[in-house]
Subunit: 242 residues, 2 copies
DNA sequence: CGAATCGTTGAGGTCGCTCAATCATAGTGG
DNA sequence: CCACTATGATTGAGCGACCTCAACGATTCG
Protein backbone atom coordinates (compact mmCIF):
# COMPACT_ATOMS: atom_id res chain seq x y z
CA UNK A 1 0.00 0.00 0.00
CA UNK A 2 1.22 3.48 -0.79
CA UNK A 3 2.15 5.25 2.40
CA UNK A 4 -0.31 8.01 1.54
CA UNK A 5 -3.14 5.52 1.52
CA UNK A 6 -2.40 3.95 4.84
CA UNK A 7 -4.98 4.61 7.57
CA UNK A 8 -2.43 6.31 9.79
CA UNK A 9 -1.40 8.83 7.19
CA UNK A 10 -4.98 9.44 6.11
CA UNK A 11 -5.82 10.24 9.67
CA UNK A 12 -2.82 12.45 10.38
CA UNK A 13 -3.23 14.23 7.07
CA UNK A 14 -6.72 15.27 8.02
CA UNK A 15 -5.14 17.34 10.75
CA UNK A 16 -2.14 18.79 8.98
CA UNK A 17 -0.42 18.40 5.66
CA UNK A 18 2.63 16.27 6.29
CA UNK A 19 5.94 17.04 4.64
CA UNK A 20 7.93 14.62 2.52
CA UNK A 21 10.41 14.17 5.35
CA UNK A 22 7.50 13.14 7.57
CA UNK A 23 6.39 10.65 4.95
CA UNK A 24 9.87 9.22 4.60
CA UNK A 25 10.17 8.90 8.33
CA UNK A 26 6.84 7.16 8.65
CA UNK A 27 7.63 4.88 5.76
CA UNK A 28 10.73 3.68 7.58
CA UNK A 29 8.90 3.44 10.87
CA UNK A 30 6.19 1.25 9.40
CA UNK A 31 8.42 -0.83 7.18
CA UNK A 32 8.87 -3.85 9.46
CA UNK A 33 5.55 -4.58 11.09
CA UNK A 34 5.10 -7.52 13.42
CA UNK A 35 2.21 -9.89 12.85
CA UNK A 36 0.42 -11.03 15.97
CA UNK A 37 -2.50 -13.32 16.69
CA UNK A 38 -5.88 -12.26 17.94
CA UNK A 39 -6.40 -11.89 21.68
CA UNK A 40 -2.72 -11.55 22.33
CA UNK A 41 -1.72 -9.36 25.24
CA UNK A 42 0.80 -6.78 24.09
CA UNK A 43 1.16 -4.79 27.27
CA UNK A 44 0.33 -5.77 30.81
CA UNK A 45 -0.82 -3.17 33.31
CA UNK A 46 1.82 -2.49 35.93
CA UNK A 47 4.82 -3.42 33.81
CA UNK A 48 7.27 -0.78 32.74
CA UNK A 49 8.81 -1.39 29.37
CA UNK A 50 8.12 1.64 27.31
CA UNK A 51 7.41 1.06 23.72
CA UNK A 52 4.15 1.94 22.15
CA UNK A 53 2.79 0.68 18.87
CA UNK A 54 1.12 1.73 15.70
CA UNK A 55 -1.67 -0.58 14.66
CA UNK A 56 -1.48 -1.09 10.92
CA UNK A 57 -4.17 -3.71 10.49
CA UNK A 58 -6.68 -5.40 12.74
CA UNK A 59 -8.38 -4.39 15.97
CA UNK A 60 -7.03 -3.97 19.47
CA UNK A 61 -8.27 -2.68 22.77
CA UNK A 62 -6.90 -1.24 25.96
CA UNK A 63 -8.43 -2.21 29.25
CA UNK A 64 -8.14 -2.49 32.98
CA UNK A 65 -8.79 -5.56 35.05
CA UNK A 66 -10.01 -5.11 38.61
CA UNK A 67 -8.75 -7.30 41.38
CA UNK A 68 -11.76 -9.60 41.22
CA UNK A 69 -11.49 -10.08 37.48
CA UNK A 70 -14.05 -7.60 36.28
CA UNK A 71 -12.74 -5.93 33.17
CA UNK A 72 -13.31 -2.50 31.68
CA UNK A 73 -12.29 -1.83 28.13
CA UNK A 74 -11.19 1.79 27.87
CA UNK A 75 -11.19 2.03 24.11
CA UNK A 76 -10.89 0.05 20.93
CA UNK A 77 -8.20 0.71 18.36
CA UNK A 78 -8.46 0.16 14.64
CA UNK A 79 -6.04 0.47 11.73
CA UNK A 80 -4.05 3.67 11.94
CA UNK A 81 -4.45 4.08 15.69
CA UNK A 82 -1.66 4.23 18.22
CA UNK A 83 -1.48 1.74 21.04
CA UNK A 84 -0.26 2.95 24.40
CA UNK A 85 0.59 6.46 23.31
CA UNK A 86 -1.69 7.86 25.96
CA UNK A 87 0.58 6.79 28.78
CA UNK A 88 3.97 6.54 27.17
CA UNK A 89 5.49 8.84 29.80
CA UNK A 90 4.13 7.07 32.87
CA UNK A 91 6.62 5.02 34.86
CA UNK A 92 4.44 1.95 34.57
CA UNK A 93 1.50 1.05 32.41
CA UNK A 94 -1.82 2.06 33.89
CA UNK A 95 -3.68 -0.27 31.55
CA UNK A 96 -3.22 -3.38 29.49
CA UNK A 97 -3.36 -3.65 25.73
CA UNK A 98 -4.36 -6.64 23.67
CA UNK A 99 -5.24 -7.41 20.12
CA UNK A 100 -8.81 -8.36 19.35
CA UNK A 101 -8.15 -9.80 15.90
CA UNK A 102 -4.95 -10.91 14.22
CA UNK A 103 -3.05 -7.72 13.61
CA UNK A 104 0.02 -6.02 12.27
CA UNK A 105 1.81 -3.63 14.56
CA UNK A 106 4.92 -1.49 14.39
CA UNK A 107 6.64 -0.76 17.68
CA UNK A 108 7.72 2.80 18.42
CA UNK A 109 10.16 3.33 21.25
CA UNK A 110 9.74 6.10 23.77
CA UNK A 111 12.92 7.65 22.39
CA UNK A 112 11.56 7.68 18.85
CA UNK A 113 8.29 9.09 20.03
CA UNK A 114 10.01 11.94 21.85
CA UNK A 115 12.12 12.58 18.78
CA UNK A 116 9.01 12.88 16.66
CA UNK A 117 7.38 15.25 19.12
CA UNK A 118 10.39 17.44 19.73
CA UNK A 119 12.09 17.50 16.37
CA UNK A 120 9.45 16.99 13.70
CA UNK A 121 7.08 19.91 14.05
CA UNK A 122 4.28 18.84 11.73
CA UNK A 123 4.31 15.14 12.41
CA UNK A 124 4.86 15.76 16.10
CA UNK A 125 1.92 18.05 16.33
CA UNK A 126 -0.24 15.61 14.39
CA UNK A 127 0.74 12.88 16.82
CA UNK A 128 -0.17 15.07 19.77
CA UNK A 129 -3.45 15.77 18.07
CA UNK A 130 -4.21 12.06 17.91
CA UNK A 131 -3.52 11.88 21.63
CA UNK A 132 -6.06 14.65 22.19
CA UNK A 133 -8.53 12.93 19.96
CA UNK A 134 -8.11 9.57 21.64
CA UNK A 135 -8.67 11.30 24.94
CA UNK A 136 -11.81 12.92 23.67
CA UNK A 137 -13.04 9.47 22.72
CA UNK A 138 -12.34 8.11 26.18
CA UNK A 139 -14.10 11.08 27.75
CA UNK A 140 -17.11 10.42 25.57
CA UNK A 141 -17.13 6.81 26.71
CA UNK A 142 -17.06 8.04 30.27
CA UNK A 143 -20.07 10.23 29.64
CA UNK A 144 -21.76 7.33 27.91
CA UNK A 145 -21.26 4.88 30.71
CA UNK A 146 -22.02 7.40 33.39
CA UNK A 147 -25.07 9.04 31.91
CA UNK A 148 -26.58 7.14 28.99
CA UNK A 149 -28.71 4.06 29.31
CA UNK A 150 -27.79 0.77 27.73
CA UNK A 151 -29.70 1.26 24.48
CA UNK A 152 -28.42 4.70 23.57
CA UNK A 153 -24.98 3.84 24.90
CA UNK A 154 -24.69 0.79 22.70
CA UNK A 155 -25.99 2.65 19.70
CA UNK A 156 -23.52 5.43 20.41
CA UNK A 157 -20.58 3.06 20.42
CA UNK A 158 -21.67 1.43 17.18
CA UNK A 159 -21.94 4.79 15.49
CA UNK A 160 -18.57 5.85 16.82
CA UNK A 161 -16.91 2.74 15.45
CA UNK A 162 -18.64 3.19 12.13
CA UNK A 163 -17.46 6.80 11.91
CA UNK A 164 -13.94 6.01 12.94
CA UNK A 165 -13.67 3.25 10.37
CA UNK A 166 -15.14 5.50 7.72
CA UNK A 167 -12.52 8.09 8.58
CA UNK A 168 -9.68 5.75 7.68
CA UNK A 169 -11.49 4.24 4.73
CA UNK A 170 -12.49 0.94 6.28
CA UNK A 171 -16.23 0.81 6.28
CA UNK A 172 -18.39 0.04 3.34
CA UNK A 173 -21.76 1.44 2.50
CA UNK A 174 -24.17 0.94 5.41
CA UNK A 175 -22.25 -0.75 8.13
CA UNK A 176 -18.91 -2.26 8.95
CA UNK A 177 -17.04 -5.41 9.84
CA UNK A 178 -17.09 -5.72 13.60
CA UNK A 179 -15.04 -8.51 15.15
CA UNK A 180 -16.19 -7.84 18.70
CA UNK A 181 -17.98 -10.45 20.73
CA UNK A 182 -20.86 -9.49 22.97
CA UNK A 183 -18.57 -10.15 25.88
CA UNK A 184 -16.11 -7.56 24.63
CA UNK A 185 -18.85 -5.09 23.87
CA UNK A 186 -20.15 -5.60 27.38
CA UNK A 187 -16.76 -4.92 28.89
CA UNK A 188 -16.52 -1.72 26.87
CA UNK A 189 -20.05 -0.59 27.65
CA UNK A 190 -20.07 -1.46 31.32
CA UNK A 191 -22.83 -4.02 30.69
CA UNK A 192 -23.12 -7.76 31.01
CA UNK A 193 -22.76 -9.68 27.78
CA UNK A 194 -26.30 -10.92 28.27
CA UNK A 195 -27.66 -7.44 28.40
CA UNK A 196 -25.70 -6.48 25.29
CA UNK A 197 -27.51 -9.33 23.62
CA UNK A 198 -30.90 -7.98 24.68
CA UNK A 199 -29.99 -4.49 23.55
CA UNK A 200 -28.96 -5.83 20.17
CA UNK A 201 -32.25 -7.64 19.91
CA UNK A 202 -34.03 -4.37 20.51
CA UNK A 203 -31.92 -2.56 17.95
CA UNK A 204 -32.71 -5.34 15.52
CA UNK A 205 -36.44 -5.53 16.27
CA UNK A 206 -36.81 -1.79 16.02
CA UNK A 207 -35.12 -1.83 12.64
CA UNK A 208 -31.98 0.11 13.43
CA UNK A 209 -29.36 -2.48 12.61
CA UNK A 210 -28.99 -6.06 11.61
CA UNK A 211 -26.13 -8.37 12.26
CA UNK A 212 -24.83 -10.89 9.77
CA UNK A 213 -21.88 -12.77 11.17
CA UNK A 214 -19.16 -10.24 11.82
CA UNK A 215 -20.92 -7.60 9.81
CA UNK A 216 -23.06 -4.92 11.39
CA UNK A 217 -25.47 -3.34 8.95
CA UNK A 218 -26.80 0.07 9.87
CA UNK A 219 -30.13 0.61 8.15
CA UNK A 220 -30.76 4.23 8.91
CA UNK A 221 -27.76 6.02 10.31
CA UNK A 222 -29.67 9.24 10.80
CA UNK A 223 -32.33 7.58 12.91
CA UNK A 224 -29.69 5.70 14.88
CA UNK A 225 -27.84 8.93 15.54
CA UNK A 226 -31.02 10.48 16.79
CA UNK A 227 -31.58 7.54 19.11
CA UNK A 228 -28.10 7.90 20.56
CA UNK A 229 -28.09 11.71 20.49
CA UNK A 230 -24.81 11.31 18.66
CA UNK A 231 -22.80 14.46 18.15
CA UNK A 232 -19.71 13.67 16.14
CA UNK A 233 -17.70 16.75 16.93
CA UNK A 234 -15.76 14.99 19.67
CA UNK A 235 -14.13 12.83 17.00
CA UNK A 236 -12.69 16.00 15.44
CA UNK A 237 -12.72 14.37 12.05
CA UNK A 238 -13.27 16.78 9.23
CA UNK A 239 -12.40 16.45 5.60
CA UNK A 240 -9.58 18.91 5.12
CA UNK A 241 -6.39 19.74 6.95
CA UNK A 242 -6.28 23.28 8.19
CA UNK B 1 4.78 31.58 47.79
CA UNK B 2 8.17 30.50 46.51
CA UNK B 3 7.82 29.07 43.04
CA UNK B 4 9.42 25.84 44.28
CA UNK B 5 6.64 25.41 46.79
CA UNK B 6 3.75 25.87 44.39
CA UNK B 7 1.65 22.78 43.79
CA UNK B 8 2.45 22.83 40.07
CA UNK B 9 6.19 22.78 40.57
CA UNK B 10 5.98 20.19 43.33
CA UNK B 11 4.07 17.97 40.99
CA UNK B 12 6.30 18.50 37.95
CA UNK B 13 9.44 18.10 40.06
CA UNK B 14 8.32 14.68 41.14
CA UNK B 15 8.70 13.64 37.54
CA UNK B 16 11.88 15.41 36.56
CA UNK B 17 14.27 17.89 38.06
CA UNK B 18 13.46 21.22 36.44
CA UNK B 19 16.22 23.59 35.41
CA UNK B 20 16.50 27.19 36.52
CA UNK B 21 15.37 28.36 33.10
CA UNK B 22 12.25 26.25 33.55
CA UNK B 23 11.66 27.87 36.93
CA UNK B 24 12.11 31.35 35.53
CA UNK B 25 9.76 30.59 32.71
CA UNK B 26 7.11 29.22 35.04
CA UNK B 27 7.52 32.13 37.39
CA UNK B 28 6.71 34.51 34.57
CA UNK B 29 3.88 32.34 33.33
CA UNK B 30 2.23 32.26 36.74
CA UNK B 31 2.92 35.85 37.67
CA UNK B 32 -0.42 37.37 36.69
CA UNK B 33 -3.14 34.97 37.73
CA UNK B 34 -6.80 35.76 37.22
CA UNK B 35 -9.16 35.38 40.13
CA UNK B 36 -12.53 33.84 39.30
CA UNK B 37 -15.63 33.00 41.25
CA UNK B 38 -16.85 29.54 42.06
CA UNK B 39 -19.08 27.77 39.52
CA UNK B 40 -17.90 29.96 36.71
CA UNK B 41 -17.75 28.37 33.29
CA UNK B 42 -14.30 28.88 31.79
CA UNK B 43 -14.69 26.88 28.63
CA UNK B 44 -17.84 25.79 26.84
CA UNK B 45 -17.93 22.54 24.89
CA UNK B 46 -18.09 23.18 21.16
CA UNK B 47 -16.36 26.57 21.18
CA UNK B 48 -12.96 26.96 19.64
CA UNK B 49 -10.79 29.49 21.39
CA UNK B 50 -7.65 27.73 22.38
CA UNK B 51 -6.13 28.74 25.59
CA UNK B 52 -5.74 26.37 28.42
CA UNK B 53 -5.15 27.24 32.06
CA UNK B 54 -3.08 26.39 35.06
CA UNK B 55 -5.10 26.19 38.22
CA UNK B 56 -3.13 27.82 41.01
CA UNK B 57 -5.68 27.69 43.76
CA UNK B 58 -9.16 26.28 44.18
CA UNK B 59 -11.01 23.42 42.54
CA UNK B 60 -12.35 23.03 39.02
CA UNK B 61 -13.89 20.28 36.95
CA UNK B 62 -14.31 19.34 33.33
CA UNK B 63 -17.55 17.83 32.16
CA UNK B 64 -19.90 17.04 29.35
CA UNK B 65 -23.57 17.87 29.19
CA UNK B 66 -25.84 15.60 27.19
CA UNK B 67 -28.62 17.01 25.08
CA UNK B 68 -31.24 16.40 27.73
CA UNK B 69 -29.23 18.05 30.46
CA UNK B 70 -27.67 15.05 32.12
CA UNK B 71 -24.13 15.89 33.07
CA UNK B 72 -21.00 13.80 33.42
CA UNK B 73 -18.00 15.21 35.20
CA UNK B 74 -14.89 13.79 33.57
CA UNK B 75 -12.44 14.81 36.25
CA UNK B 76 -11.79 17.28 39.02
CA UNK B 77 -8.79 19.57 39.07
CA UNK B 78 -7.03 20.90 42.12
CA UNK B 79 -4.17 23.34 42.68
CA UNK B 80 -1.31 22.67 40.32
CA UNK B 81 -3.44 20.95 37.69
CA UNK B 82 -3.85 22.03 34.09
CA UNK B 83 -7.26 22.85 32.71
CA UNK B 84 -8.00 21.89 29.15
CA UNK B 85 -4.54 20.62 28.32
CA UNK B 86 -5.98 17.29 27.32
CA UNK B 87 -7.63 18.69 24.21
CA UNK B 88 -5.61 21.76 23.41
CA UNK B 89 -5.02 20.57 19.86
CA UNK B 90 -8.61 19.74 18.99
CA UNK B 91 -10.38 22.16 16.68
CA UNK B 92 -13.17 22.66 19.17
CA UNK B 93 -13.55 21.81 22.80
CA UNK B 94 -14.95 18.38 23.42
CA UNK B 95 -15.85 19.27 27.00
CA UNK B 96 -16.64 22.21 29.21
CA UNK B 97 -14.59 23.45 32.13
CA UNK B 98 -15.84 25.29 35.18
CA UNK B 99 -14.53 26.26 38.55
CA UNK B 100 -16.02 24.57 41.57
CA UNK B 101 -14.72 27.02 44.14
CA UNK B 102 -13.32 30.52 43.80
CA UNK B 103 -10.01 30.05 42.08
CA UNK B 104 -6.88 31.57 40.66
CA UNK B 105 -5.95 30.60 37.15
CA UNK B 106 -3.20 31.52 34.73
CA UNK B 107 -4.05 31.25 31.05
CA UNK B 108 -1.59 29.53 28.73
CA UNK B 109 -2.04 30.04 25.02
CA UNK B 110 -1.76 27.20 22.55
CA UNK B 111 1.31 28.91 21.16
CA UNK B 112 3.00 29.05 24.56
CA UNK B 113 2.11 25.47 25.24
CA UNK B 114 3.62 24.32 21.97
CA UNK B 115 6.70 26.38 22.73
CA UNK B 116 7.08 24.63 26.07
CA UNK B 117 6.66 21.22 24.53
CA UNK B 118 8.94 21.77 21.55
CA UNK B 119 11.63 23.99 22.97
CA UNK B 120 11.94 23.29 26.68
CA UNK B 121 12.95 19.66 26.93
CA UNK B 122 12.57 19.07 30.66
CA UNK B 123 9.56 21.21 31.31
CA UNK B 124 7.95 20.06 28.10
CA UNK B 125 8.38 16.45 28.99
CA UNK B 126 7.05 17.07 32.47
CA UNK B 127 3.98 18.71 30.96
CA UNK B 128 3.43 15.77 28.66
CA UNK B 129 3.76 13.53 31.67
CA UNK B 130 0.95 15.39 33.42
CA UNK B 131 -1.16 14.82 30.34
CA UNK B 132 -0.48 11.10 30.57
CA UNK B 133 -1.24 11.14 34.26
CA UNK B 134 -4.49 13.02 33.82
CA UNK B 135 -5.47 10.51 31.21
CA UNK B 136 -4.69 7.66 33.53
CA UNK B 137 -7.00 9.25 36.05
CA UNK B 138 -9.80 9.53 33.53
CA UNK B 139 -9.29 5.91 32.51
CA UNK B 140 -9.52 4.87 36.13
CA UNK B 141 -12.79 6.78 36.44
CA UNK B 142 -14.04 4.93 33.41
CA UNK B 143 -13.20 1.61 35.01
CA UNK B 144 -14.81 2.79 38.20
CA UNK B 145 -18.06 3.81 36.63
CA UNK B 146 -18.17 0.83 34.33
CA UNK B 147 -17.23 -1.90 36.74
CA UNK B 148 -17.35 -0.85 40.38
CA UNK B 149 -20.50 -0.52 42.43
CA UNK B 150 -21.54 2.70 44.05
CA UNK B 151 -19.93 2.06 47.42
CA UNK B 152 -16.47 1.09 46.22
CA UNK B 153 -16.65 3.65 43.45
CA UNK B 154 -17.36 6.48 45.84
CA UNK B 155 -14.68 5.31 48.25
CA UNK B 156 -12.27 5.09 45.35
CA UNK B 157 -12.87 8.68 44.32
CA UNK B 158 -12.46 9.94 47.85
CA UNK B 159 -9.14 8.17 48.20
CA UNK B 160 -7.99 9.47 44.85
CA UNK B 161 -8.76 13.04 45.83
CA UNK B 162 -7.06 12.57 49.16
CA UNK B 163 -3.94 11.20 47.48
CA UNK B 164 -3.84 13.88 44.83
CA UNK B 165 -4.14 16.61 47.42
CA UNK B 166 -1.49 14.99 49.55
CA UNK B 167 0.77 14.94 46.51
CA UNK B 168 0.70 18.72 46.19
CA UNK B 169 0.77 19.31 49.91
CA UNK B 170 -2.87 20.20 50.42
CA UNK B 171 -4.32 17.63 52.71
CA UNK B 172 -3.88 17.47 56.40
CA UNK B 173 -3.58 14.45 58.60
CA UNK B 174 -6.58 12.16 58.12
CA UNK B 175 -8.74 13.74 55.51
CA UNK B 176 -9.07 16.81 53.36
CA UNK B 177 -11.15 19.85 52.58
CA UNK B 178 -13.67 18.85 49.95
CA UNK B 179 -15.85 21.57 48.45
CA UNK B 180 -17.93 19.20 46.33
CA UNK B 181 -21.67 18.95 46.75
CA UNK B 182 -23.38 15.60 46.56
CA UNK B 183 -24.79 16.74 43.24
CA UNK B 184 -21.31 17.23 41.86
CA UNK B 185 -20.10 13.96 43.30
CA UNK B 186 -23.06 12.26 41.69
CA UNK B 187 -22.26 13.76 38.32
CA UNK B 188 -18.69 12.54 38.65
CA UNK B 189 -19.64 9.08 39.85
CA UNK B 190 -22.49 8.45 37.46
CA UNK B 191 -24.91 8.33 40.37
CA UNK B 192 -27.87 10.37 41.48
CA UNK B 193 -27.14 12.86 44.25
CA UNK B 194 -29.60 10.98 46.41
CA UNK B 195 -27.71 7.77 46.04
CA UNK B 196 -24.44 9.54 46.84
CA UNK B 197 -26.10 10.56 50.05
CA UNK B 198 -27.03 6.99 50.89
CA UNK B 199 -23.55 5.78 50.07
CA UNK B 200 -22.07 8.41 52.36
CA UNK B 201 -24.40 7.30 55.09
CA UNK B 202 -23.08 3.77 54.70
CA UNK B 203 -19.48 4.94 54.74
CA UNK B 204 -20.28 6.90 57.87
CA UNK B 205 -22.21 4.14 59.61
CA UNK B 206 -19.54 1.60 58.84
CA UNK B 207 -16.92 3.88 60.31
CA UNK B 208 -14.87 4.65 57.22
CA UNK B 209 -15.26 8.39 57.05
CA UNK B 210 -17.03 11.23 58.72
CA UNK B 211 -18.04 14.51 57.24
CA UNK B 212 -17.81 17.81 59.07
CA UNK B 213 -18.91 20.65 56.88
CA UNK B 214 -16.53 20.76 53.95
CA UNK B 215 -14.10 18.49 55.63
CA UNK B 216 -13.94 14.79 54.93
CA UNK B 217 -12.22 12.84 57.66
CA UNK B 218 -10.86 9.44 56.72
CA UNK B 219 -10.65 7.28 59.80
CA UNK B 220 -8.78 4.31 58.49
CA UNK B 221 -7.26 4.86 55.10
CA UNK B 222 -5.96 1.33 54.87
CA UNK B 223 -9.38 -0.18 55.46
CA UNK B 224 -10.96 2.26 53.03
CA UNK B 225 -8.38 1.35 50.40
CA UNK B 226 -9.20 -2.29 50.93
CA UNK B 227 -12.89 -1.56 50.49
CA UNK B 228 -12.25 0.24 47.23
CA UNK B 229 -9.50 -2.13 46.07
CA UNK B 230 -7.50 1.02 45.55
CA UNK B 231 -4.23 0.61 43.72
CA UNK B 232 -2.45 3.94 43.57
CA UNK B 233 -0.02 3.16 40.80
CA UNK B 234 -2.22 4.79 38.18
CA UNK B 235 -1.54 8.16 39.83
CA UNK B 236 2.16 7.67 39.10
CA UNK B 237 3.05 9.74 42.12
CA UNK B 238 6.27 8.72 43.76
CA UNK B 239 8.56 10.69 45.97
CA UNK B 240 11.63 11.23 43.84
CA UNK B 241 12.26 12.43 40.33
CA UNK B 242 14.04 9.88 38.23
C1' DC C 1 -37.51 36.76 57.99
C1' DG C 2 -37.76 34.75 53.49
C1' DA C 3 -35.23 32.61 49.81
C1' DA C 4 -31.92 29.64 48.16
C1' DT C 5 -29.00 25.87 48.48
C1' DC C 6 -27.79 21.58 50.08
C1' DG C 7 -28.45 17.37 52.73
C1' DT C 8 -31.52 13.57 54.36
C1' DT C 9 -35.02 10.13 54.29
C1' DG C 10 -38.98 7.15 52.63
C1' DA C 11 -41.69 4.68 49.07
C1' DG C 12 -41.97 2.50 45.04
C1' DG C 13 -40.39 1.47 40.36
C1' DT C 14 -37.09 -0.12 36.70
C1' DC C 15 -32.96 -1.13 34.44
C1' DG C 16 -29.69 -4.22 34.15
C1' DC C 17 -27.72 -8.17 36.79
C1' DT C 18 -27.00 -13.27 37.87
C1' DC C 19 -28.01 -17.99 37.24
C1' DA C 20 -29.21 -21.54 34.29
C1' DA C 21 -30.40 -23.67 30.18
C1' DT C 22 -30.49 -24.13 25.16
C1' DC C 23 -28.97 -23.27 20.47
C1' DA C 24 -25.68 -22.35 16.59
C1' DT C 25 -21.29 -22.62 14.57
C1' DA C 26 -16.78 -23.97 13.74
C1' DG C 27 -12.82 -26.56 14.56
C1' DT C 28 -10.57 -31.16 15.79
C1' DG C 29 -9.24 -35.70 16.08
C1' DG C 30 -10.58 -40.49 15.29
C1' DC D 1 -17.64 -38.34 7.77
C1' DC D 2 -18.91 -37.80 12.46
C1' DA D 3 -18.96 -37.40 17.48
C1' DC D 4 -16.86 -34.15 20.57
C1' DT D 5 -15.53 -29.78 22.28
C1' DA D 6 -15.20 -24.93 22.62
C1' DT D 7 -16.93 -20.59 21.87
C1' DG D 8 -20.37 -17.40 21.44
C1' DA D 9 -25.39 -16.09 20.94
C1' DT D 10 -29.99 -16.35 22.81
C1' DT D 11 -33.70 -16.63 26.03
C1' DG D 12 -36.26 -16.99 30.58
C1' DA D 13 -36.85 -16.22 35.59
C1' DG D 14 -35.99 -13.81 39.48
C1' DC D 15 -33.58 -10.35 42.00
C1' DG D 16 -31.14 -6.25 43.53
C1' DA D 17 -28.78 -1.85 42.88
C1' DC D 18 -29.84 2.41 41.90
C1' DC D 19 -33.36 5.70 40.19
C1' DT D 20 -37.32 9.01 40.55
C1' DC D 21 -40.60 11.51 43.05
C1' DA D 22 -41.81 13.81 47.03
C1' DA D 23 -41.24 15.75 51.35
C1' DC D 24 -38.71 17.74 55.02
C1' DG D 25 -34.58 19.53 57.72
C1' DA D 26 -30.40 22.38 58.15
C1' DT D 27 -27.64 26.17 56.97
C1' DT D 28 -26.44 30.40 54.86
C1' DC D 29 -27.20 34.85 53.17
C1' DG D 30 -29.37 39.06 51.74
Amino acid sequence: MQIEQTPLVRKLSSFTRLGSNDMTYLERLLSHPRTVHGHKELVREGTSDHDCYILLRGWACCYKVLRDGRRQIINFQVSGDFLGLRSFLLRSWDHSIATVTPAEISPVSQREMLHIIHDMPRLGRAVLWTVSRDEAIVAEHLASIGRRRALERTAHLLIELEERLKFVGLNSEKGFECPLTQDELGDALGLSAIHVNRVFRQLRERGFVSVAGRRIVVHDLKRLKALAAFDEHYLDQVAKPR
